[in-house]
């Protein structure tokens, strides 16, 4: 639909131009052919070539989810392949006995705080990288890229020592700070790219109208960064939500643990409570699914904006 609308406008413009100049040919009109994927004329891709790979992809993606749901609601000991009769016993166990109510709250706190801190710092740093030229900027960008190759596990001991000196061990802040630090390189690179795509002239126009730099940034640049902010924020939230290592290492109290640590409680040395593990997995997956359901169109817009404009 979108393609047709755009090309029709193009064709109309071409016609108008041709009428005006009397020489330019009309723009090529694309059309949807029957049984095509909506590509240019002549590109008659059979539907099965689109739906079969998509179907296979969905199979591989959704079967594990089905498995998780099945085990989560199936009574212990059942071998049924359909989730009926259903039971809420596993959810009751993880939520009340294993303490997922507390873990969920902690994960939410860590996720939201990491999101806010990462986005705020990435905005400031990204603006500096995009708008200012200073010695070492390229080197700094390179260092940011290189930092992506350092596994978090390698930094555990130094980070642990620093947090201990700051009396932050066994505080959710230690996890928030560590998550923010590890999210920042990618977030900075992404945000600086988005800011670079906003013409500097817009800011300059705001300055001419009497705005200071901060107000011009807030009034002019920030609204245009919505896709970028959503992309960076969602990455920060989801990464913090799923991350296991920092929460386990920097926290030493059951009341402070987050959901990924709680999930591991269902795995014992000699046995695994698959029902509880699956129910915990559902509890862990729901917020992420909801987040992506709401932000997906902004996320895709953000990615395509970055892809086209570089």
């Amino acid at each position: 639909m979108t393609t047709t609308a755009i090309t029709d406008q193009g064709a109309a413009a071409g016609t108008r131009a041709g009428a005006h100049t009397g020489s330019a040919p009309p723009a090529r009109r694309f059309r949807r052919g029957p049984g095509t994927g909506g590509g240019p004329a002549g590109d008659r891709t059979p539907r099965w070539q689109i739906y079969l790979p998509l179907g296979l992809y969905l199979l591989f993606t959704l079967v594990p989810f089905y498995w998780m749901l099945l085990f989560a609601v199936r009574p212990a000991g059942s071998t049924s392949l359909v989730p009926w009769p259903a039971t809420a016993a596993h959810f009751d166990k993880v939520w009340n006995d294993l303490g997922f109510a507390v873990f969920f709250r902690n994960s939410l706190l860590v996720g939201v705080a990491s999101l806010l801190m990462t986005t705020a710092v990435a905005l400031a740093g990204g603006y500096a990288l995009a708008r200012f030229r200073f010695r070492g900027r390229n080197g700094f960008m390179l260092a940011l890229l290189c930092s992506q190759f350092i596994p978090g596990a390698l930094m555990l001991v130094p980070l642990f020592e620093i947090f201990r000196e700051l009396a932050l061990v066994n505080s959710l802040w230690s996890v928030v700070i560590a998550e923010t630090v590890f999210q920042l390189p990618l977030s900075l690179i992404l945000i600086s790219g988005f800011i670079r795509n906003v013409p500097a002239e817009l800011e300059e126009a705001a300055w001419v109208d009497g705005c200071g730099r901060f107000r011009a940034f807030c009034a002019v640049v920030l609204p245009l960064l919505r896709p970028g902010l959503i992309a960076v924020g969602s990455f920060a939230f989801v990464h913090s939500w799923n991350h296991f290592l920092f929460a386990l290492m920097f926290l030493s109290s059951q009341e402070k643990y987050t959901i990924p640590v709680g999930l591991n409680y269902t795995i014992g040395a000699e046995s695994v409570d698959l029902g509880a593990l699956a129910a915990g997995g559902v509890v862990a997956a729901v917020p992420v699914v909801i987040v992506f359901a709401f932000i997906q169109k902004w996320l895709i817009a953000g990615f395509s904006a970055g892809a086209v404009k570089g």
Binding site: F132, F160, S252, Y265, T266, I267, E270
Partner: protein
């Protein structure tokens, strides 16, 4: 256009203003990092006044949390001046958590420590010797000699003990009594019956198998159980070299690996214990080798009447059983603890007859307390009773696996598990596998001896 934009963009901040700020920030970070060094896991700590807070890390958190909470509640009732801060650590990452705390500080007063992890922690000086405390208190003479021997061997410091054993696990040959009865087979209490049953219960076309083996994570430990139990070789080292590639062990390994796909599902190639137990619980499979820990899963899947568990058969009729040592779980007192007196009270309480029995009943494991052998729940749990009797039988030959070698975990897992899969697939012979494993072990032992001599 880009150049034009750049030329109109805001001017950079003067460098002079940046330099001092950067220098201050850098100095602060370096100072912070430098000051953070120290107070590592081998700090001396102190006895304390026997009161206050004791921090305890449970090395199988989640699964064992309910029983530990009961024990802690009972302890705090008996010792109202001591609070136990309970930290459940998931078993999958407990070693990493200890390692980080040893390197960075923040170790607890008491922690669950298995013999498989003991050598690493002793080598880093993290654990306090507890031999004297055991001798001077109510635990003296009350702990299973087999488990005490395992703890001593795993610590690698002669007769010194670095943990109080609380529990042991043991490999059990689980079998489906209903399938055996239907096929007219006797219990697999000798190796001939075992292999015969594995073959007779297999009908691959109908998705029925006589046995399921562990081809993925943990495969080598299980293979060692099968090798030594069949061969009857009673020691892991002989003349400074490992017996892993002794001809009797190679022959046993060949027979065991030969079961793959003949009497087992092809998917066994990637089985870790989770998949293996789940597969046994949901299919028509006659036998499984796994430890006591999966007993509740089997009962859940089949009911008590359709499942039985026996120790691995002796190598020959009338011969004593040969059992490779399974990891012994225990409680370690950390050297860095500032409150060792209170921490020891907690350890002694948790290892008392009543509490040790309670813990092992919930875990379905073998209690370390010898006086728990006659407890009612042991009498009712036939597999536990049989395992306990075989473990405590003076005739039983216990092959002490080299947990004391720092490289043991690597060698027996990532170092050789891919080769075991090659063996199952016929890309490697049993002799080649055993020789490679033996080579790695001999090398690791030589290195360990060299380090100790220094």
């Amino acid at each position: 256009m880009t150049t034009a934009h750049r030329s109109r963009r805001p001017e950079p901040r003067p460098r002079r203003a940046i330099r001092p700020a950067a220098a201050v920030a850098l100095t602060a970070v370096l100072a912070l990092t430098a000051s953070a060094c120290g107070n590592s896991g081998d700090a001396a700590g102190g006895e304390g006044d026997g009161k206050g807070t004791v921090e305890f890390w449970d090395n199988n958190g989640g699964v064992r949390t309910p029983v530990w909470k009961k024990i802690i509640a009972a302890f705090e009732k008996k010792h109202p001046d001591i609070d136990v801060k309970y930290v459940p650590v998931p078993i999958t990452e407990v070693q990493s958590k200890y390692d980080t705390a040893i390197a960075g500080g923040g170790l607890p007063d008491v922690g669950g420590v298995k013999t498989a992890d003991l050598a690493n922690m002793v080598a880093q000086g993290a654990l306090e010797p507890v031999g004297d405390r055991i001798e001077d208190g109510p635990l003296k003479g009350r702990l299973s000699p087999g488990m005490v021997a395992s703890v001593r061997a795993a610590g690698g410091e002669g007769d010194e003990m670095f943990s109080v054993p609380t529990s042991a696990n043991q490999s059990v040959l689980w079998y489906r009594t209903d399938l055996f009865e239907k096929a007219g087979l006797d219990a697999p209490d000798d190796w001939e019956t075992f292999y015969e049953a594995a073959e007779k219960l297999t009908d691959a076309g109908d998705n029925k198998f006589g046995f399921t083996l562990r081809g993925g994570a943990g495969s080598v430990a299980q293979a060692l159980d099968m090798m030594y139990a069949q061969s009857g070789v009673g020691t892991f080292w002989k003349g400074g070299k490992t017996t892993v590639n002794a001809p009797e062990n190679v022959e046993a390994l060949e027979k065991y690996a030969g079961l793959y796909k003949k009497a087992t599902p092809a998917a066994d190639l990637n089985n870790d214990f989770t998949k293996m137990v789940a597969q046994f619980g949901s299919g028509d499979i006659g036998m499984l080798l796994h430890n006591l820990g999966s007993y509740p899963d089997h009962v859940k899947a089949f009911g008590k009447d359709r499942i039985a568990g026996i120790p691995l058969p002796p190598s020959a009729d009338g011969a004593p059983r040969t059992i490779p040592s399974n990891p012994v779980d225990g409680l370690g007192l950390f050297r860095s603890s500032d409150n060792k007196a209170a921490a020891w009270k907690f350890i002694a309480f948790a290892a008392s007859h009543e509490m040790n029995s309670l813990w092992n009943e919930e875990a379905g494991a073998i209690p370390a307390r010898t006086d728990a052998a006659g407890d009612a729940w042991v009498e009712d749990a036939a597999p536990v009773k049989a395992a306990m009797e075989s473990l405590n039988d003076p005739e039983t030959k216990i092959v002490q696996l080299p947990y004391e070698l720092p490289d043991w975990n690597h060698i027996s897992k990532a170092g050789t598990e891919p080769d075991f899969q090659k063996l199952l697939l016929g890309e490697m012979t049993a002799q080649e596998f055993a020789d490679k494993l033996a080579g790695l072990l001999n090398e690791a032992r030589a290195e360990w001896n060299e380090q100790r001599e220094k």
